[in-house]
Symmetry: C2
Subunit: 252 residues, 2 copies
């Protein structure tokens, strides 16, 4: 639907179309209504359509013609976030205090975090968030872990990827809008914060960081792959260290 | 908004409220309209509200009062799927042919896959999908890898978790609705399918499977964690083998 139309004309068109589609054996019907055609939403819903999803510029409605159960696929279910551990050669971690959110005014130093944009790769989001919040350039290394949690936001679920990055620059330029303060602090000082002792995810962040820096912890890192169904490149995140060792063992 | 109201009364209420909120310095305004109040959508949009997100039963609208840029958080951006590698002691993989979708009629044997439901844990979804499609009970072992791809569905992004599971039962009871055929096939036969040779993700699936079964590949497995912000349990997926080795090395 693109052109403006009066609701009564739309109603007549809709009824004729559904009758035809029913004869043709069609099952799921989708109507994408741009927000400027908001005058047609009520008509569609009164004819039996319901909401599938919405974005700022449009509303997607669906209708299932047969008597059988609808197999219309669900909407996006997860928000995706990143946390960035940036560790320098002096055993210092890059940390911030935020102007809003849960940690505001607590004095807790936390790693930079943010939301992965639609269409953005997880590893790019980690680099972008660190740059935006602190001005530091980084080289993405690995995803050390991720957490899945539920009912975090309008009933949706949340995937939070904990990333490990190496700094390429060192002078902090903090972002004014969101960040109260930013600094490099000794790892032990970060881990010893009273809050970090109480909060299980914080403790894991410290454990994973030490395991990565001082020992042989292998996380997941991205490899580009192509699909035969599209010409787009996507990324496969895996334990590349173990995978490559395995492959070379194969050949000997 | 819960009770029915006429659009003109709603309009008067809305204008008075926004004027008050503006004086109070409020910024973001949310209206959640149940689908039965669809008669108010047009009024809200004409007053400057836009769509934030929608679910079958409601539409969420937002409005940003100040002149500054809106900091209203984005909607859910990702769908999450699982693929399940179920490998038995005879070096056979559990595979299916689907009645619909991209692989219909191709004769390609693929691993069971499915969508993670809202509120469902990734590892539970893998176990559920295998049970639903093939009747096989499994014990979840690890996430071997995951792929992030974009523009897969209404412009949304997609996270696909490749899981490794051990079978606890062996007699296949295929699901009639979605599954054309299901069987155990020798791993080499699965990997040698012409399609699997062409499709990069298929090749990685075979490589990761061998690395896991015959060598020392470590993926991510879930550990329950609690948050100090809620009493819900969530799961942190990490390379538990490396993390535990590191911790025990610490203590010696």
């Amino acid at each position: 639907m693109k052109e403006p139309v009066e609701p009564d004309i739309f109603l007549a068109m809709l009824r004729a179309s559904i009758s035809l589609w029913r004869q043709q054996g069609k099952r799921g019907v989708w109507i994408k209504l741009p927000i400027k055609l908001v005058n047609l939403v009520e008509t569609a819903v009164k004819e039996g359509f319901w909401y599938h999803h919405a974005e700022p510029s449009y509303l997607m409605l669906v209708y299932w013609i047969p008597e059988t159960a609808s197999t219309i696929p669900a909407n996006a279910s997860h928000r995706v976030g990143v946390g960035a551990i940036v560790f320098n050669d002096k055993r210092e971690v890059l940390v911030v205090q935020e102007k809003s959110g849960r940690f505001r005014g607590t004095g807790v130093w936390k790693i930079p975090t943010g939301v992965v944009d639609e269409g953005e790769d997880v590893f790019m989001a980690a680099v972008r968030e660190v740059k935006e919040e602190t001005g530091i350039d980084t080289d993405f290394q690995e995803i050390l872990a991720f957490r899945q949690s539920h009912k975090s936001f309008f009933g949706k679920s949340d995937l939070f990827f904990l990333c490990f990055l190496r700094p390429l620059s060192f002078d902090i330029q903090k972002q004014e809008l969101e960040i109260e303060a930013a600094q490099w602090i000794p790892f032990e000082e970060y881990a010893a914060q009273p809050f970090a002792q109480k909060h299980e995810l914080f403790k894991y962040i410290a454990d994973l960081c030490l395991a990565k820096v001082d020992r042989t912890y292998a996380g997941f890192s991205p490899l580009p792959i192509t699909s035969i169904f599209s010409d787009q490149i996507s990324y496969l995140y895996s334990n590349v260290r173990d995978l490559k060792q395995s492959s070379s063992a194969d050949r000997h």
